[in-house]
Each structure stands twice: as structure tokens, then as C-alpha cells.
């Protein structure tokens, strides 16, 4: 409860700044129009006009809210104009890519922790893979996969996986290595095997790291799916909405899609956070 006031204060401040920004950035167009029509406008008239343009440079918060509301509740979810429909297209690719990426990340981390050769060789490549701009790689993946007949969901998922495996590898290597020397020595005095050391110690010890890296990976996977929708000129998905919004100068559409993406990301992170809380509580670990 005590948190509500500060949070609302910050939100109110952001909305106020946003309105100010809308007025400032959209007023140019209003003034140009007025000059063309040889009118002079009062300040109130200018403000009122900047709040309600068809193609504002920066849509006002209520315009975005209305666009979002229309997109989510104003149509059947199967409609091509429904944001729910587009969000689902993107989310399905995101989830597939996230699952592949997280699985791959955990496997690589297991290998890195248990195998010296992998420790030396995999990490540099994983890091290198993330230094290549995703915008450069995404079209290649889409084109190459299309040429072997794979289109639609899967190529986008590959890009998602490409972005999301990395935080999982880094987080899980750290997690698997989090037990200190004393805990490893203790297991040595029991003559525990490497498999036992992994399942009894490394794996449970890595759980807090696991969920934290999943949260980062989920957000990265969403970015990957959206980027994957851009180069193909895809007709569906949040990326497609962003693209067609920018073709037609529909800024409200762009902003609505952006907010939808943020909502989807927040929902995924929220679900992972809930799983984390339940799991760690079950394990008796205080957070």
C-alpha cells in the first residue's frame, strides 16, 4: 500500500511530460495548417488541436490508450485489426523461440561447467554471437530458411532463440558454479559422483539464477520475434503492425503496438516471477 503513492506519482509525472511533449511536437503541424488557412489560433485552440490529430508526431496518451482499447476490445480477436490477434502471432513465435533458447542455454551451461574444452571454446562464441547486430542477421535467417521452404513461425522462433539463449548460458554457468569450494569439498568427502554433485548441489543452487536469466531471456525472445517480422514484410504480428504503421504514418498504430509488446513482455516476466516465487518457496529458500 505504501508503494502505491510513489508509483502513481511517477506515472502521473510521466503522463504529464508526455502530454507536454505531444503539445510541443504536434503544434508545428497545427501552426502550419493555421498559417495556410490564414488563421490565428489561441493557445487553447492549439493545445486542443494537438491532442486530436489524425497523424500526430507524438500521439497523446489518451489517443494511444484509445488505440490500444480499440485494438484489444473493439474487434473480434480473430480480426486482422485486433491487437490480440497480432500479439498472439508474435507471442507464439516468442514462446517457441524462448523454449528453444532456454533449453539450449541450459544444455550449453551444463557442458561448460563439466567440460574444460567446452568452457574454453563455447563462451567466446556465445559472446561473439551477441555482438553481431540482430538486424543484420535476422533477414539472412529468414531468407535462408525460406529458401529451404521453412516460413512462418519457425524462422522467427529461431531469431528469438538466438537472442534468448545467451542470458541463460551466462546466468546458468554462474548458477551452477555458485556453490563454494567448501560445499564441493563436502561432497568429495562422500565420494559423490559428478552426476550426484550436479543433481544434489549445482542444480538446486542454480535455481535463483535460472529464473532471473529466464526473465531476461523472455524479453529478449520477444524482441527477436518482433525483429523477425520486420524484414519479411510480414502481414501479421506486432512487428507487422509496427511496419505498416510506419508505412502509412499511423503513429497511433505504432504506439499501440509498442504498448501491446510491452504488455506481453510484462506478462511473461510476471508469469516467470510467479513461478520463481512458488518454486523458491517450495524449496524453502527465502528471497
Amino acid at each position: 500500500m505504501r508503494l502505491v503513492v510513489p508509483i502513481l506519482t511517477v506515472v502521473a509525472a510521466i503522463v504529464a511530460l508526455w502530454y507536454a511533449g505531444s503539445v510541443w511536437m504536434n503544434s508545428q503541424w497545427t501552426l502550419d495548417q493555421a498559417a495556410r488557412n490564414k488563421q490565428t489560433l489561441s493557445f487553447t485552440q492549439i493545445v486542443r488541436d494537438t491532442m486530436d490529430q489524425k497523424r500526430p508526431v507524438l500521439p497523446a496518451p489518451h489517443q494511444v490508450a484509445e488505440g490500444l482499447w480499440q485494438g484489444v476490445f473493439g474487434q473480434a480477436v480473430t480480426s486482422k485489426r485486433s491487437l490480440v490477434y497480432h500479439a498472439w502471432i508474435t507471442l507464439s513465435a516468442t514462446l517457441l523461440g524462448f523454449a528453444i533458447g532456454a533449453g539450449l542455454g541450459v544444455l550449453l551451461a551444463v557442458g561448460i561447467v563439466h567440460n574444460r574444452a567446452m568452457d574454453m571454446s563455447v563462451m567466446p562464441w556465445a559472446i561473439a554471437s551477441q555482438t553481431i547486430p540482430i538486424l543484420a542477421i535476422a533477414p539472412m535467417i529468414i531468407v535462408v530458411m525460406a529458401s529451404i521452404g521453412v516460413t512462418g513461425l519457425f524462422p522467427k522462433a529461431v531469431i528469438s532463440a538466438y537472442l534468448s539463449f545467451f542470458p541463460v548460458v551466462v546466468g546458468m554457468v554462474k548458477g551452477f558454479r555458485s556453490p563454494d569450494a567448501m560445499q564441493l569439498d563436502l561432497l568429495r568427502t562422500y565420494s559423490a559422483s559428478r552426476a550426484q554433485t550436479f543433481w544434489k548441489l549445482r542444480f538446486p543452487a542454480s535455481m535463483p539464477y535460472f529464473f532471473t536469466s529466464l526473465k531476461i531471456a523472455a524479453a529478449a525472445a520477444l524482441v527477436g520475434a518482433i525483429v523477425g517480422e520486420l524484414p519479411t514484410g510480414a502481414v501479421a504480428g506486432l512487428g507487422a503492425r509496427l511496419l505498416s504503421g510506419s508505412y502509412y504514418g499511423q503513429t497511433v498504430m505504432i504506439w499501440s503496438a509498442l504498448f501491446m509488446a510491452a504488455i506481453v513482455a510484462a506478462a511473461m516476466v510476471g508469469v516467470i516471477g510467479a513461478l520463481q516465487a512458488v518454486t523458491l518457496k517450495r524449496m524453502g529458500m527465502r528471497q
Partner: protein
Amino acid sequence: MKDTLDRATVIEAKGLDLAFQTADGPVQALKDVTLTVGRGEFVSFIGPSGCGKTTFLRAIAALETPTGGMLSVNGMTPDEARRARAYGYVFQAAGLYPWRTIAGNVKLPLEIMGFPRAEQDRRVAQVLELVDLAGFGKKFPWQLSGGMQQRASIARALAFDADILLMDEPFGALDEIVRDRLNEELLKLWARTGKTIGFVTHSIPEAVYLSTKIVVMSPRPGRITDVIDSPLPQERPLDIRDSREFIEVAHRVREGLRAGHSYEV
């Protein structure tokens, strides 16, 4: 003190050397250490920081490999002895797994060594009883005080019936009052189980109170300067620490520590 000679030898070190290879060259942690420990003895290792107490204990537990000399445990190499479950090791920190209950923590070695389920539960109950933690099995470590956590870690080391208990400053992080209680309990536990105990400490009273044999060590390179067989009786109430014999032994330990130090000057 009595009849050390006809006791079976459990730990035997002859001319033991152990050097660590470090970036600034080798560090001689143990030099020419010779010691015999009989079955059922309570041996304390005392000496200034860096004299190799931990290293010696770890070498016995096959956690470090000696670079020279001979070391045998129950007539085997330390490695073989470990595989034969010869010892339980208690570290300075309790090191309980936060995601396991106290009972679950005590069960850990039993699971790893593949004891049958029913046997696991029986042993857990038994050793928790032994360290006075019966009824705390379902609690998680953070719900227990530091002293109770350390008792749980002792229970864990006792669970699989190793006949040697190696303890590296197990009570070092606890306050004096808790420490006294645990010392008393440890003595009782030792009397009841007849285990051989190797115990590292920085405290002269603790060493004298607990041990049948006190090994005084000195640093750089780590070696033994004195081995004192305690004349104190087996039965030791806490106020034995005011007796003349106790004070004499403590005095001899202190002398030994001082002699060790004079080497450095």
C-alpha cells in the same frame, strides 16, 4: 594417556611433506610431520594461523595430496579410506543446504552413498537425537541458530557411521557460551560413540578440555613442535578447567606455541 600403545593405529603420518604450487613459487604448508593417532583418541591441532592445521586435516581426508612422506588411514591410503567411508568432515561453516530441511541435510550423505530409504530415516532420527536436535528435522536451516546449525552439520558427519570425525574449527564462529555447551556435548558424544576425532582449534582451553592428545604446530614451514598426551581423566566436567592438572597442560601448550614462534625471529 592410558595405553595409547596397544590401541589400533588409525591415522599414521611419517615424514609428511605438503607443498602448494602457487604463482609466487611453492608454499611449504607441512614439513616432516610425523604423528600416530590411535583408535578412539581425541586429537586437537593447535597453532598460529597458517601453520598447516587445515592442510593436515584435509590431507587426511584426501582433499589435498601430500608431496612427500607417508600417510595412512586405517592402514589404507587416504583415498581408499574415503571410499571406505572412513571419515566425516565438519567444516568451520555449517554449510547446510538452504533448500533442504535439517533432516534432508543430514540425509544428504546417506542418499549419495545409497543407503535404503527406511535405513536413511532411521539414521537421521538417531543422529538428530544424538546432537540434541530431535524435533527440528522439519525446520529449514535459516530457522535455526548458528550453534544448532553447527550441531546439524555434526549430525550430518555422523550419519553414515564413519569412525573418524575430522573437525576444522567447528565452533570457531560461535560465541563463548554456546561454545562451552557444544564442547561439553561433543565430549559426551565422543564417549558414547567411541569415534576417533581430529579437531582443529585456535583456543588453548578448548584444546586442553577436549583432547586426549594435543598436537602443537608452528608455521613456515608447518611442523609439529610438541605432542602432549593429556593426563586429564576421561570424565570431564566444565569446572575441570580450574584444576591444577588442566592449568599445567594449558601452560605446556602455551610454551610450545611460544617456542614455535621464536623460530621466526
